[in-house]
Amino acid sequence: MHRYIPHTQEEINEMLKEIGVNSIEDLYVSVPKTIEDYNLENGKDEFSVKKELLSLNKKNKVFEPENIFAGAGIYFHYIPSVVETLANNQRFVTAYTPYQAEVSQGTLQALFEYQTMMCELTAMEVANSSMYDGATALAEAMLMAARINGKSKMLIASSINPEYLQTSKTYCTPQNIEIQKIKWTENGTLDVNDLKNKIDDNTSAVVVGYPNFFGIIEDLKSIKETLPENVIFIVVSEPISLSILEAPGKLGADIVVGEGQALGITPNFGGPGIGFFTTLQKFVRKMPGRIIGETKDIEGKKGYVMILQTREQHIRRAKATSNICSNHALMALINAIYMSAMGPKGLKKVAKMSYNASHYLAKKLEEKGYHLIFNGPFFNEFLFNAGENYYEKWKKMSENGILGPLPLGKSMPFFKNVALACCTEVNTKESIDNLLKHF
């Protein structure tokens, strides 16, 4: 029949006989036949398919990581080879959601450990076992805030990743939740005065990036100080930066979300990455997503299961905290393996090398007369004025094997000729010096 379909003609005959019909056609009771054939080619052997996809693959340009200076939410980092080897284990990849906990302890323990690591990184009390990405994690965080305090106004830093902002709008609008943007200062940080002006009784949550989309490190402490008691403080963070930056949990965050791609996941043209989602224990029943907890078996042995499922759609249906069902569990595993490999020291080294590289680039650009847009402290990304026709220049660079700092003008017209530069530990001094030749 087919290598993916085991039936032999004899078996088909036996099965039909057992069912008591003459043909498969007989089983399609009242299912109209509306097609004879799809307008598709017939199937192919795997070698031909592989060849076809290899040729598509070759139509994409793979830059040497050291020559990549693009970030904006997706980062190139060194990924230890054990990550791929271990996460590719068929018993992880082809396993289903751990509904049968007794035969899913691998999944469950790995996710429990992932949750622990995310709590450690953010200094929060609870993490779920994944969301789709950073943007939906933020959107769901806002919905959660509204559930917690019943208010419907979200104040969000304009310096947040624009796709996150847009996604949040999409999610909030049908719930009649209003989103107001807060300005940035010339430092690139949140304008606390603007925030103060806009906070009112109906304010549910305040959202800032840490670092924000411009790479600037927001002063969470002073923002927190301006917030009334029951306003939820949502921080969108970048996990690598958190081994250098004080943990949001220590600075008053109520919910910390973000994109976890940087933790060992290949860029994948933007997906799948993973949304991480952490909060405080007191809010856990309002939290979206799957949570793994520790328990015991009937002999007292430690084990892991999905917990607090009454929040979820398969039990609570329309009243669930979210509709999320399939999540990004495999990516959570990758995150966990990556963090296990790097440990606190490795992660800190990655962060510090990224910091150094981006500051080196910034310094050199300034020496060449380019101006940084903001003078606030930044982690590994920064905005600078890249000069006339930067977009064309950027495309030229790409022909020379460099994925240069991203031009923002196309999507953010007020940032015409402004570029968002990013460095990580994969960029070398040579590669940066080489980039600088194009400026």
């Binding site: 087919h2 085991p6 009771v29 994409n60 997706i74 289903y96 979210s322 393996i337 790409s398």
Partner: protein
């Protein structure tokens, strides 16, 4: 043992090339500099390898055995597709590279969109949603946008049958609708009278899956479509059960306006312990302008992303969706092609009906007649007699090296198993399952307590779910 217990201070599992760049002092306000390092594991490479290899060994998986999970379509996940998705030209590209440098990726998405339109009978498609539920939300937001675009603000309700998957009502609500649940008829299908009662001019959309979660084809689908459209509402198709229709009919042909697919079901991408999946949404022409941003377009043989869609529901996530998953689904469709997909549908239905016939000798089948890709059986009577529940039987199945079917869903049947064999299981595999199931019922009759305490041969014995949620432990306790 957790990885945290294996950890030893100063043990290392990493190394990084030096980049020769001078060390910059942190130019960050003191209070924003991290003081205490996170308690992440400090382990050697071998520690890591053993930890995760041993964890994997505790998992059941498609590559290990049969997963008769109804509504989940746990078919074989081809190995070649995994390799292809890992090609560097797919995995190592940045979403914001110049389009000129990602023509292969954009072409793949454009063609996948077209192929999926062909398979569903829809006219446009977005590949962005990350999973089925995300697709549902997208689809329902489109329904909302559609009515609002016509100035119709009173359509606040979404109808969902009581047999629907939990994500349906949850997504409808997230899209801002009030959810109206309608009872299924005695034949397990939509009760036209109930539907008629619920359908008014405040209804925006009816969400259905067809075949429904009982594995039954809604034979009145054309009538339903007519009723819904007559009232100005839209018809939404939950594509989780598309496998059954392959090669026979298409949601678009049955009158559906919006369809979401689960590439991680019908199109064989692996489940990865729960994800990532992908939930493309297809629509009929009149709804195309509402599809989310960005859209992949083709202009003069060049592929581009269009962000300029003023009527769109907007962004539903970052970037373009779960691209690696799309690659696998694309490879799958190319592999199966027209002829292969037809066989898939046929063999899926053959398998389900054959297994149904076998299970019929052991359990009650919830609804009579041939099924499509899955069927629901119940042991409600048996439970009353013996005290042995579907859950117990399920746990005992684990002992025999088979995964348990979906249980206690749909909610309208009790003590039930929802069984979907998929086309990739062999007759032998089904025979073995039926044999084991019969054996367990025998065991349960002879010694109910034995089955109630199952499983016995698993890495842990039966786990205490109640304790786990009553006194939740969310993370490893370093205090210990």
């Amino acid at each position: 043992m957790t990885i945290f217990e294996i950890s030893k201070p100063n043990r290392i599992g990493f190394e990084l090339p030096e980049n020769n760049i001078e060390d910059f002092e942190l130019n960050i306000p003191e209070h924003l500099i991290r003081k205490e390092q996170p308690n992440l594991p400090q382990v050697s490479e071998l520690d890591i390898v053993r930890h995760y290899t041993n964890l994997a060994a505790k998992n059941y998986a498609v590559d290990v055995g049969f997963y008769p999970l109804g509504s989940c379509t746990m078919k074989y996940n081809p190995k070649i597709n995994e390799k292809i998705a890992n090609f560097e030209g797919f995995s190592m590209i940045h979403p914001f590279q110049p389009h000129e440098t990602t023509q292969g990726a954009l072409k793949l998405m454009f063609e996948l969109k077209e192929m999926l339109c062909e398979i569903t009978g829809m006219e446009d498609m977005t590949l962005i949603p990350s999973a089925g539920a995300h697709g549902e939300l997208t689809g329902m937001l489109i329904a909302r946008a559609y009515h609002l675009s016509k100035g119709d603000t009173k359509r606040t309700k979404a109808i969902v049958p009581d047999s629907a998957h939990g994500t349906n009502p949850a997504s409808a609500r997230m899209a801002g609708f009030e959810v109206i649940e309608i009872k299924s008829g005695p034949d397990g299908r939509v009760d036209l009278e109930e539907l008629n009662k619920a359908l008014d001019e405040n209804v925006a959309v009816l969400m259905l899956t067809n075949p429904n979660t009982l594995g039954l084809f809604e034979k009145d689908i054309l009538k339903i479509s007519e009723m819904v459209h007559e009232k100005g509402a839209l018809l939404y198709y939950d594509g989780a059960n598309l496998n059954a229709l392959l090669g026979r009919t298409r949601p678009g042909d049955m009158g559906f306006d919006i369809v979401h697919l689960n590439l991680h079901k019908t199109f064989s991408t692996p489940h990865g312990m729960g994800g990532p999946g992908s939930g493309p949404v297809g629509v009929k022409k009149h709804l195309a302008k509402f599809l989310p941003i960005p859209e992949v377009i083709k202009e003069d043989d060049k592929y581009k992303l269009n962000y300029n869609k003023p009527d769109s529901i907007g962004f539903i996530r970052s970037y373009y969706g779960n691209f690696s998953v799309l690659v696998k689904a694309y490879a799958y469709i190319k592999t199966m092609g027209n002829d292969g997909l037809k066989k898939v549908g046929q063999m899926a239905i053959l398998n389900a009906n054959y297994l149904r016939k076998k299970v019929e000798k052991i359990m009650d089948i919830a609804y009579p007649g041939f099924c499509m890709h899955e069927f629901v059986s119940t042991c409600e009577k048996f439970t009353k007699e013996t005290g042995v529940k579907a859950l117990d039987i399920a746990k005992r199945l684990l002992d025999y090296g088979v995964h348990a079917p979906t249980m206690y869903f749909p909610l309208i049947v009790h003590e039930d198993f929802m069984i979907e064999p998929t086309e990739t299981e062999s007759k032998d595999s089904l025979d073995k399952f039926a044999e084991i199931l019969a054996k367990i019922f025998d065991e349960a009759r002879e010694n109910p307590d034995f089955v109630k305490n199952a499983p016995y041969n698993t890495p842990v014995k039966r786990l205490d779910d109640v304790l786990a949620s009553r006194k939740p432990v969310f993370k490893f306790d370093f205090g210990k």
